[in-house]
Amino acid sequence: MQMTNRFSFSRSSRRELLRAGMYGVCVTAGAGLPVPVFGQAAAALAAKGKADGKILVVLELSGGNDGLNTLIPYGDDAYYKHRPQLGIPKKELRVIDQHFGFSGGMAGFERLYKDGKLAIIHGCGYDNPSFSHFTSMAYWHTAAPNSGEEYGWVGRLADTMAPSAPPNYLVNIAARQSLAVRSQKHVPVVFDDPNKFSQEKFHDEKEVLDTLPENGKIDNPARRFLLDTAKSAKDASALVREAWAKYRSPIDYGITGLDLPKVVALIDAGMPTRLYYTSYRNNAFDTHVFQEDTHKRLLTYASDAVAAFLKDLERIGRANDVVVMVFSEFGRRVPENVNLGTDHGAANLMFVAGNQVKGGQYGAIPSLTKLDEGDNLIHTTDFRRVYATAVERWLGLADSKDLLRGTFETFDMFRA
């Protein structure tokens, strides 16, 4: 474990150092360099933030988004056969080509696609899919199906990119920390409402409250965890609060901006964060019954929010530095159920959006006639290929083999 981390660390830092123009340091350093020097370099890189910091934002659509009613294969009769009630007719779609159209409310995604800023990745999934929300989501969170992996893939990514764990490198905007950001070295900054991310204190209490928590050896693991978390809170809370207080945007995010305006606020404030994780919360996409209106509404909100997010990034001049990856833990069963809804399925779409994204469609379109024995789409693209694409081709890590526990072919998806 230890060895693996050190190895991947030295490799990824070389790349960082190259970009930062510190090649000489790296050459003399080699793999055996004492950690503090690396630590400083990584911290310096992280602190620079703005200039070389490509940023990855992950947006989770929790509950299992019905991909077939998100990007509708109206050109395939089999779709309408499977979905006599729920199938959406072509005239209600936002048609993007001879075969596909977005759900009616997704004006935002339609525009992004037509502007060449949206990558659609077909048929994403994994072998022996789980139909449990929690299990399948854990597989996506860890990028390690059927393994019981303890740490999240975004957390491990942070460990690889910045092993010295500088503060505020990894942000998860959520009521609860996601498994995806669980990290060995970083304490992710997790908050929900920036206005509440503050210790309220009376004047006279400041001296006591500003004391850093104890750092000595502590046997009680729960206590150790609490003390570490308290330190992370002290590091981040003032920055986040100030960033949010300063943030003013004229961009219309729609009914719910999800947490994307908060991400823009932090980026604009120059936070050294490279990895953001957010979600459309509370299993919202779990549409077992009467899904038509609900699902259309959810998609409208999500699509509005992502499109506004890119516009907002443009406004602050950072659109070229950020991409957002959108996924869900599974798609839904191909045939509709009798309750005007759909049950848990398997393969699904992913999306990657951003100014630097080469818009278009990636991966093979899964067959609607050759389904698995449970009537589910058979995946054509291992979802980790998309992770690997973001890790290697966007964030610039030399490879993602150690991180993703395997070699996954990447897509040529980015301009720069």
Binding site: K196, G254, T300
Partner: protein
Amino acid sequence: MSLFRRFAPILLAAVAASAQGSGPASWQNDLAPISAQDWNAEFAAHLLERAGFGGTPEEIQALAKLTPQQAIARIVRFEGVSNAALPPFDHSGIHDPGLEPFPPSRPAVTDMAKEKGEALGIKVKAEGNRRLQPIVDKFFYWLRASAMETNRVAYWWTNRMLTTPRPLQEKMALFWHGHFVSNEAKVRDYRKLLAQLELFQKQGTGNFRDLTVAVAQTPAMLSFLDAGVNVKGAANENFAREIMELFTMGVGNYTEKDIREAARAFTGWNYVDMKFVINKDQHDDGDKTFLGKTGRFDGVDVIDIIMQQPVTAEYIAGKLYRYFARQDLSPELQKQLGAVLRQNKYDLAPLLEKIFLSRDFYSVASVGTRIQGPVELVVTTYKKLGLKSVPGVPDFNLVTGGLGQQLFSAPTVAGWPSGQSWITPGLLLERANFGRDVLFPDISFLPPDRYTGGGEVRRVADRIRRGMDISTATKDDAKTGDMAESNMNADRDEDFNTRYGSFRGSQLAIERVKALPRDAANVNLSQMILDAKVQNTTQAVDYLIHRFMRVPPGTDAKQKLVAFLNKDLGTTDIAVAQTYMEESLRLVLHLIMSQPEYQLG
């Protein structure tokens, strides 16, 4: 109080001598019972913390005087203890028969109204503009009123947690509430949620098999898991899947085929208003093969077959253990606990007694290592403050919701993740802010059950009062650039106006739902300190730490607290400061509640 006075010097001595008491490390994983010699006030405090919502020094001493067997029997076998003094829930009277069956969405309501000429007990307006408006208003009325009444149920319940003479009854109800999950957002009927809670209170320490069957037939669960639409010929798997994955066996112990077969067995299970029904013609009466057995099973048969699996007893015993004792549980220990449950035919009380009496429960691995959930944190704090009712300021549901655990609002069917998942940097700070809100109530507090509906509703309300027409009043504030698609939709339909309905529904709900009392916490720390015969500031800090924390902060932090109190009082002598020390003591207590260790129970 007089009882405590006698013991106070002993307590203080115990604080001075050592940290909070726990058994040796060798007790870990040992289910053998502790002996009478092991038993002391620290163990009693630990038991009350876990099996209930903490104890005052008086309650701890009363329990410590018993033998461990007696103490644990008093906690677990509470049937002989009368709780007749606890009032039943006081309904506001917000429901009417026209609301049943409540349609799944606003579009479904308006479609129904267009088709049938009426919905929710209201006829479509004969002529004119917005003919469906009264129906849309009523739809939003019920959404708001049910949610508000559910918050009243939560207050009723937490007052029971605080004042019950049977703490384990409510603690187990809280466990089952997070296990057999349903939530208001989906069920949208406080009556169904209340009925389910009352079942947990009544049968929570009874028999797990009977409880599972009973819960599976509550309208709350049937509604939450869409069981009502699971019919012959097209089974809906949601209900069957979650029963196995989350409620009884855990993932990996059955196949997808088992789920489909179980779903068939549950076909026809439904509810009408508050009653469980089986629709015979929707029930699939054919043979099913489930977990290796074949027969014409119905839902109860499926539950009985699940109960025959050893893994079921282990799953549920392990989950109970994590709730009461600690997070990390060895597979061997889990097997032993499962065996206890199985030997007792799924009766829960013997397992609970075994756990609470075991050496492992009092070992260093268990004591003071549990991160309290938000509801426990808040109720325990109130208990240790000596409060007799849950304060209305701050609002209980806002506080616990902000900390990640609003009752009747579990985020997913898996309930609330526990342990370290309760804490993030943001939430740790919010926990300390809760302490401040209790000890220094906000004088600008706005009761959320009166000042309601969110910014948009208030904006519409304000504009309507100023005499605007509905279209103008409900229009968005101008924003630059393109309007988001969802904001254009909101203004389109002319049969009704959704935003007006949202405002009007809130208004109707405020009219009907009874207000919550909004008294602030009645705290008197000065008296508490004087009653404990505390003489100087160091003893005062020790006393507060011991009374309120299970794991004390480090020496450095403690010294800072004493120094703070000395400075704020201008003396180290309590007798000198006793007429003016209340505010300083509250500041110290807030600082104590701001320590990371305050989360441990």
